[in-house]
C-alpha cells in the first residue's frame, strides 16, 4: 500500500497546487460547490462535470495500457457512440424513455463491438496495438458521419436523453454520478475479481502468463472491449450535454488527453501495474489546467502549450536515461563506472 501512495503523491501534489493557484486567484468560490436550481454548481463541480467523458475514456485506456497496449481509436468511437445515440433518438419519438434507453444500449453495444474488434486485431492477428487501433482512428469518424448523414443531429431539449448530460440526481450532476459509478464499477471489477491481476500479468510478462495457463487473448480482447464501451459511453454523455453529435469534432484529440491522464496517473506505457485512481487524478489535473490558464489571465490558446509542457515533463521524468543524465554531474568521480544495464547474468535462453 505504501508504494501505492507514493505513486499517487506527485499527481496529487500537482492537483493540489493547481487548486491552490485557482483559489488564490478567484477565491474559495472556486472549490466550494454552490446550489442552483436544485443542482450543484460552482467552478470546480463544472470542471469535474465537463471532465467526465475524458475520465471514462482514460479509465478504459488505463486498462488497455495495463496490457502493454494502447487504443488510439477512442476519439472516433466517442464520435460513433454520440452519432448512434443522437441519430436514433432524432429518428424516433424523442420524449419516449424507451427510445432513449434503446439508443444508449445500442450505442454502447456498437462501441463495445468496435473495442472487441481492436482487441481481436491485437490478440489474434498479432498487429501492434498502435497500428491496429490507428485504422479505426482514421476510419471511425467517417463511420460516424455515415451514421449522421454528414449532418450534426440535434436532439430536442425536452428528450430525457439530455438529462444524461445536464440533469442531476439529488443535486449531483448526472455525468458525475455516471463517472463515479463507472469508476467504482471498474475498480470493483478489476480489484475484487482477479481481472486486474491477470491484466497486469499479461502486460507485465506475456510469456510467463501463457506458461501459467492464463487465457491472455481473451483478457486482451476484454480490455479493448471495456475501453471501447467506455469511449462509447463518453460519447453518449458528451452529446447529451451538447444535445448534438458532431462526427468531426466530437471527442477530437481526446485519445491524446486520455493517454496523458493515464501517464500522469502513474501507469507506465510499457504495461504492468495500473492505477485507476491515479488516472482519475490525472483527468482532474487536465480538467483543472484548462480553467487555471484562463483564471490566471492567460488566453485560452495557452491550453495547448501548457499541455505540451505537461506531456514533455511527464515523459522526460519517466525516462531513466534522463534521470541518469540529470544526476551525472553529482556522482562523477567515485562511480565513474557505468552500472551494468540489466542484471541478467547468463539468463539468455541459449538452448533454442
Amino acid at each position: 500500500m505504501n508504494s501505492y501512495l507514493k505513486r499517487l503523491f506527485w499527481p496529487l501534489a500537482v492537483l493540489v497546487a493547481l487548486l491552490i493557484v485557482n483559489i488564490a486567484v478567484t477565491g474559495f468560490d472556486f472549490i466550494v460547490p454552490s446550489v442552483h436550481d436544485g443542482r450543484l454548481g460552482g467552478a470546480f463541480v463544472n470542471i469535474l462535470r465537463g471532465a467526465v467523458p475524458l475520465l471514462l475514456i482514460s479509465l478504459g485506456m488505463t486498462i488497455v495500457i495495463a496490457t502493454k497496449g494502447i487504443d488510439l481509436s477512442v476519439g472516433a468511437v466517442y464520435a460513433i457512440g454520440a452519432a448512434i445515440a443522437c441519430q436514433w433518438i432524432l429518428d424516433r419519438d424523442q420524449s419516449a424513455l424507451d427510445t432513449v434507453f434503446t439508443a444508449v444500449v445500442l450505442a454502447l453495444v456498437v462501441a463495445a463491438v468496435i473495442g472487441a474488434w481492436n482487441g481481436t486485431m491485437v490478440a489474434y492477428f498479432g498487429v501492434q496495438p498502435i497500428v491496429a487501433t490507428l485504422i479505426l482512428m482514421i476510419a471511425g469518424r467517417g463511420i460516424a458521419q455515415l451514421i449522421t448523414g454528414g449532418q450534426i443531429p440535434s436532439v430536442s431539449d425536452d428528450t430525457p436523453f439530455v438529462e444524461l448530460g445536464r440533469g442531476a440526481i439529488a443535486t449531483v450532476p448526472v455525468p458525475i454520478v455516471i463517472g463515479l459509478v463507472v469508476f467504482f464499477g471498474l475498480v470493483l471489477l478489476t480489484r475484487t475479481t482477479a481481472l486486474g491481476m491477470l491484466l497486469e500479468s499479461v502486460g507485465g510478462n506475456p510469456e510467463a502468463s501463457r506458461l501459467a495457463g492464463i487465457r491472455s487473448k481473451g483478457i486482451t480482447i476484454l480490455a479493448y472491449l471495456i475501453c471501447g464501451a467506455c469511449a462509447g459511453l463518453a460519447g453518449i454523455i458528451g452529446s447529451a450535454n451538447l444535445g448534438s453529435a458532431d462526427a468531426n469534432n466530437g471527442g477530437l484529440w481526446i485519445e491524446l488527453d486520455a493517454i496523458l491522464a493515464v501517464v500522469i496517473g502513474g501507469t507506465a506505457l510499457l504495461g504492468g501495474r495500473f492505477f485507476l485512481l491515479g488516472t482519475a487524478i490525472g483527468v482532474a489535473i487536465i480538467g483543472t489546467l484548462e480553467d487555471t490558464i484562463i483564471n490566471v489571465g492567460l488566453s485560452s490558446q495557452w491550453q495547448f502549450t501548457a499541455k505540451a509542457i505537461v506531456v514533455f515533463i511527464v515523459a522526460i521524468l519517466q525516462s531513466p536515461e534522463f534521470r541518469a543524465w540529470l544526476l551525472k554531474p553529482f556522482r562523477s568521480g567515485s562511480a565513474a563506472e557505468p552500472t551494468a544495464p540489466e542484471p541478467k547474468p547468463e539468463e539468455k535462453a541459449v538452448a533454442k
Binding site: 476510419a139 455515415l146 454528414g150 495557452w302 495547448f304 505540451a308 515523459a315 525516462s319
Partner: protein, 341 residues
C-alpha cells in the same frame, strides 16, 4: 567433406526471394491503375490529364509531409507533430511578413530552419532519453498548435505579400483544352522533394542507415552504424518537410489558418502505409508514398465524380485500405514482433 562453394539454398519459396518487399508497392500501383481504369470506364471526362495533375496540386503539402513521414516510419518511429508544425509554419510566415514586415526571402528560411531544428530536438529527446516517439511528438502536436493559436486564432491573409503569388503560377504542358495540362510551382516543389528523398534514401549512407535502424536498431548499433545521427536525422527531415509543407500551404491558400492541418498527421501516416511502407519500419519506398498520396487523392476524385457519394466514404475507404495493407504486411511475415528489442 565439401570443399566446393556453398551456394544459396533459399529457405522460402522463390516468390519471396527478394521480391517480397515489392509486393505491397505493387499492390498500391495495381490499385491505382484499377481505380483509374474504373474511373475511365464509368465517368466521362475522366481521361482529362489535368485530373492526374490535380492530384499533385491539392495534395502538394500532404505529399511533402508524407515524404518526411516516410523517413520517420522507415526508421521505426512516428511523428504526430507534422500537422501542427505545418500550421505553425504558415502562421509564422504570415506573422513575420505581415506583422513584422520582414521580407519573405528571410522569413521562409527562418521557418525551414526552425522546423528542422525542432525536429532535431525531438529526435534527440527520443534517442537519448528513450522517450517513445509517440509521446515525444505528441508534445510537439500540442506545442506547435498552441503557438499557432497564440499568434492568431483567426485567419491571417498574406495576399498583400507579392512573394507568395509565385507558388500558384502555372506551367502549362501543351494546350490545356487539347489534352494538355498545367501545374503550379508548388507541385514542382513537391516533385523536387520526392526526387531528393529518393536519392537520399537509396544512394546515401544516411538513407541506408535509416533502413538499417528500422530493420533492427540493436543490430545497426552492433554493426557500428551511427544510430544516434540517423534517428535525430529522420525527425529533422520530417520537421523540415512539415515546415516546407507550411510554406507550400502559404503559397496555395495565401492565408494562414490556425486550424489548418488538423489530423494531417493521420493522412500522412495513412498515405505512407497505403504506399506499402511497413509501419514498424525497415521496409518501404518513398515512391510508394507518392502512390499512396495519389490513391488517397484518387478516392476523393472518384467520390466527386460519382456525385451521390458523400465525402466520408473517403475516410472509410482509407480505413479499409489501411486494414488491407496492414494485414498484407502481416502475412508477408515481417511484423514488429519478429524483432524483439
Amino acid at each position: 567433406m565439401s570443399t566446393t562453394t556453398l551456394t544459396e539454398r533459399s529457405d522460402r519459396s522463390t516468390l519471396f526471394d527478394g521480391l517480397g518487399r515489392y509486393i505491397p508497392i505493387a499492390a498500391t500501383i495495381g490499385l491505382l491503375i484499377a481505380m483509374y481504369a474504373g474511373g475511365l470506364a464509368n465517368y466521362s471526362n475522366f481521361d482529362n490529364p489535368q485530373l492526374i495533375a490535380d492530384l499533385f496540386i491539392g495534395n502538394a503539402a500532404l505529399l511533402i509531409i508524407a515524404v518526411g513521414m516516410t523517413f520517420v516510419i522507415l526508421s521505426g518511429g512516428i511523428d504526430l507533430s507534422v500537422g501542427s508544425m505545418m500550421a505553425f509554419s504558415t502562421m509564422a510566415l504570415a506573422w513575420m511578413t505581415v506583422e513584422l514586415g520582414l521580407p519573405a526571402e528571410i522569413a521562409v528560411p527562418v521557418v525551414l530552419v526552425f522546423g528542422t531544428g525542432s525536429g532535431m530536438f525531438t529526435g534527440a529527446v527520443i534517442h537519448y532519453f528513450k522517450v517513445q516517439p509517440f509521446i515525444a511528438t505528441l508534445a510537439g502536436l500540442f506545442l506547435y498548435r498552441g503557438l499557432t493559436l497564440q499568434i492568431s486564432d483567426r485567419d491571417v491573409s498574406i495576399r498583400e505579400i507579392e512573394f507568395f503569388s509565385w507558388g500558384m503560377d502555372r506551367v502549362e504542358f501543351g494546350n490545356v483544352r487539347e489534352g494538355g495540362f498545367s501545374l503550379p510551382h508548388i507541385s514542382f516543389i513537391a516533385f523536387a522533394v520526392v526526387i531528393i528523398a529518393f536519392i537520399v534514401l537509396h544512394y546515401t549512407r544516411f538513407g541506408r542507415s535509416v533502413y538499417a535502424v528500422g530493420g533492427s536498431e540493436q543490430s545497426a548499433l552492433l554493426m557500428g552504424l551511427p544510430t544516434a545521427r540517423t534517428k535525430v536525422g529522420v525527425y529533422a527531415v520530417s520537421g523540415f518537410c512539415a515546415a516546407l509543407g507550411g510554406v507550400v500551404a502559404a503559397y496555395a491558400t495565401r492565408s494562414a489558418n490556425p486550424l489548418a492541418g488538423v489530423g494531417l498527421e493521420l493522412d500522412a501516416i495513412a498515405a505512407v502505409v497505403i504506399g506499402g511502407t511497413l509501419l514498424t519500419g525497415g521496409s518501404g519506398f518513398v515512391l510508394g508514398t507518392v502512390a499512396g498520396v495519389m490513391v488517397m487523392g484518387m478516392i476523393s476524385t472518384i467520390i466527386a465524380f460519382q456525385g451521390n457519394l458523400n465525402s466520408w466514404w473517403a475516410r472509410i475507404a482509407v480505413g479499409v485500405l489501411l486494414l488491407a495493407f496492414i494485414l498484407l504486411q502481416r502475412f508477408l511475415g515481417r511484423s514488429g514482433e519478429k524483432r524483439k528489442t
